[in-house]
């Protein structure tokens, strides 16, 4: 099995007067684990359905492996889709489920049975071949769905939030499993999710979508370290936000006059003086001042301390909103209260023109 690349060229999708996907260009490399991340209703599933062939774009072209796919139905495309609810056939045994694609291709029964058994062994389901899907646990069903999709030897595997129904432990396990299957098979994976943690742990690259627009396409590291828009900054991981107006610009840095005073950060948007701007700084780069000299400092009220096992989240209240400080849990700050001074370095802060934040 070899993965193929997927290209969306100037693709637009409209349903009546509603535009689900605004003009989009997207290239997904062959053999890549690519995630499309966004809140519900952002158009990510629409893109998935355009790639799988259930719908054709209103404008633009979809290419898989360089071949134009418009007008070609899902049966004829080198793709396989794993549905959110898996859509296993409950009245067939598991091996028959896996073999359905082969049955459709006219493979003889004995042969497709052997192949189905092989694939079920690949996903670690030996001994469950003759059972029906409803006799399996959630994680096992998941694997039947994966085996069923792999049976047709797709070049591109499309996954529509297939992990959302699983509990946390199983989800984490399946992430590793999916990644491993992707590595073993070399198939291009396009993974749809609204869970940024899921996208970050599994993907090579991620496209973040909002309201039908792809906001940013980047590698996992870049996406986290250099978000391009306020939405991406707040949707992918957490960010502390300070709002104000730019008062100075110097050497790629901007100084924003906020209610917490003048804050300096990287002028990413090349904004000009007087622009309304937002400063974003990650909680793990925001520090409680204990003698360390930082570029930006201000005072806030301590609110509460949430323990998250290896980490501890400290919540502070400022005049304009809450600030989170994220630290490794070394048993510190147990007696924190009242006013506290916090700060961060200018090189850890990103200044962007004001925009819409994620409300999640």
């Amino acid at each position: 099995m070899r993965g193929k690349d997927v290209r969306l060229e100037d693709v637009v999708m409209r349903f009546g007067s509603f535009t689900a996907v605004q003009q989009t260009n997207l290239t997904i490399n062959a053999g890549e684990f690519f995630s499309i991340l966004g809140p519900s209703g952002c158009g990510k599933t629409t893109i998935l359905r355009m790639v799988s062939g259930f719908i054709d774009p209103s404008e633009g072209r979809v290419l898989i492996g360089g071949e134009q796919m418009n007008g070609i139905g899902p049966a004829k495309r080198p793709t396989a889709l794993i549905f959110q609810n898996l859509a296993l056939f409950p009245l067939m045994s598991n091996w028959e489920n896996v073999a359905f694609g082969l049955e459709a291709r006219g493979v003889a029964k004995a042969k497709r049975r052997d192949r189905a058994y092989e694939l079920m062994a690949l996903v670690g389901l030996q001994g469950h071949e003759e059972k029906t899907p409803n006799e399996l646990s959630g994680g096992q069903k998941q694997r039947v769905a994966i085996a069923r999709a792999l049976a047709v030897e797709p070049a591109v595997l499309l996954l529509d939030e297939p992990l959302s129904a699983l509990d946390l432990k199983l989800r984490q396990y399946m992430r590793a499993e999916l990644k491993e299957i992707q590595r073993k098979t070399g198939v291009t994976f396009i993974f749809i999710t609204h869970d940024q943690g899921e996208a970050l742990t599994m993907s090579d690259r991620i496209a973040v979508m909002k309201a039908g627009v792809v906001e940013q396409v980047d590698t996992v590291d870049n996406l986290y370290a250099h978000p391009r828009t306020p939405f991406v900054a707040t949707f992918v991981g957490e960010n502390n936000v300070l709002e104000g107006k730019i008062s100075h610009i110097q050497d790629g840095f901007a100084i924003v006059e906020t209610q917490q005073g003048a804050i300096r950060g990287i002028n990413q948007d090349k904004a000009t003086i007087g622009d309304k701007a937002m400063v974003f700084v990650r909680p793990e780069r925001t520090k409680l001042l204990n003698g360390a000299a930082l570029d930006n400092t201000f005072e806030v009220d301590f609110e509460r301390r949430d323990l998250e096992g290896a980490f501890v989240n400290l919540f502070f209240k400022s005049d304009t909103g809450s600030i989170i400080v994220h630290e490794a849990n070394l048993g510190q700050h147990k007696e924190l209260e009242g006013r506290a001074k916090i700060g961060f370095n200018a090189s850890d802060a990103i200044v962007m023109r004001s925009g819409e934040l994620s409300d999640e």
């Binding site: 799988s52 062939g53 259930f54 139905g73 899902p74 049966a75 004829k76 793709t79 396989a80 889709l81 549905f83 959110q84 609810n85 859509a87 296993l88 056939f89 009245l91 067939m92 359905f100 694609g101 049955e103 459709a104 291709r105 069923r148 999709a149 049976a151 047709v152």
Partner: protein, 344 residues
């Protein structure tokens, strides 16, 4: 029972149970048991009995007149004759009020070969109607359930239901008008110049069993569509898409995914259509107007209301009940569905 009492109290539960028992006993068990009992009596009725009695009475009148006129020694002989005749009349009258009857399966086993062939033919026709109705209804039910937009599905549904607001007889007469010698279709053909009324070259649709089929399918189409629609409707649309995505053809998708899912509905639809059409009286009566052979239901009618032989009629009717029961059991076996699936 206990949970019923807990939720509704003793009074209401009592009413529920009584009503159910009433329904079961009076409306289901009792009539069937009565019918079964009737069907097992075979009464040896002498058709000539009434005439024989009448003749004996007139003979008696004559003899009594003779006896009055006669004198002397002829008297005892006439008197003897009168006595014999009176005895004879008494036996005949006893036979009339309480004819010799036999309890057993004679009414079932003595069905004439003509009646038996009609019986078999009716079952075969009802099966054919069922198969045809399924062939017509499955695509319609699937389209309404899965392919049509919600608004269009509602309209289609309405279109299917509206004709059923009209009496069944009228619907059958409508088909009669369509298929008649000078009906809608033949008029259309005449207008196109294919047939001519003057030369009586019309197509005699009503003389083909097909016309009864058409009317029966039309009469019972809903009983087939609704159960199938109800089960297909519950099929997850993703399963259809999954089958399509995996390359499944339309045939394979229906054969492996939709039909197995719709089995209980298909079984119910087939059972209802079969039972209704095998027992239908008005449709074959109206559509054939006696021009083609009787259906078994018409035969039963004749036994009850023309031959006045209720026992044979009951036996015929009960045979039909047995056939329907057998059909239900076969359908359950074939479709591997239980009573529970069917009652859903």
């Amino acid at each position: 029972m206990n949970s019923l009492i807990r939720s509704y109290g003793k009074g209401l539960t009592g009413i529920f149970v009584t009503l159910t028992a009433f329904w079961l006993l009076l409306l289901i068990i009792l009539p069937q048991a009565f019918m079964l009992d009737q069907s097992l009596w075979s009464i040896d009725k002498d058709d000539q009995l009434g005439m024989k009695i009448d003749r004996a009475y007139s003979d008696l009148g004559l003899l009594e007149y003779d006896a009055q006129q006669a004198t002397g020694d002829t008297n005892p002989a006439v008197q003897e004759k009168i006595d014999t005749l009176k005895e004879e009349i008494a036996t005949l009258e006893a036979q009339e009020t309480d004819p010799p009857r036999e309890y057993g399966l004679q009414n079932y086993t003595r069905m004439s070969s003509l009646h038996f062939s009609i019986f078999v033919k009716s079952i075969f026709y009802a099966l054919a109607v069922t198969v045809l109705a399924f062939a017509v209804c499955y695509p319609v039910a699937f389209t309404i359930a899965k392919l049509a937009t919600p608004q269009r599905a509602a309209l289609l549904m309405l279109g299917l239901i509206i004709p059923y607001a009209i009496n069944e007889l009228l619907r059958v007469y409508a088909w009669l008008m369509i298929l008649d010698y000078q009906g809608v279709i033949n008029s259309l053909l005449a207008w196109m110049g294919v047939v001519s009324f003057a030369d009586k070259t019309w197509i005699p649709f009503l003389e083909y069993p097909g016309s009864v089929f058409v009317a029966l399918i039309y009469a019972y189409v809903l009983f087939m569509i609704f159960p199938i629609y109800n089960t297909v409707e519950t099929l997850d649309k993703n399963q259809l898409e999954a089958a399509q995505d995996l390359g499944g053809s339309v045939f394979l998708t229906h054969w492996r995914v939709v039909l197995p899912h719709a089995k209980p509905g298909i079984a119910v639809g087939c059972i209802m259509t079969f039972m209704l059409s095998v027992g239908s009286y008005s449709v074959p009566q109206i559509m054939t107007r006696g021009k083609s052979g009787d259906w078994f239901s018409q035969l039963i009618y004749r036994q009850f209301f023309e031959t006045q032989n209720w026992n044979v009629g009951a036996a015929y009717a009960f045979s039909l009940v047995l056939v329907c029961l057998a059909f239900i059991l076969i359908m359950m076996k074939v479709f591997k569905v239980g009573i529970r699936d069917i009652s859903k």
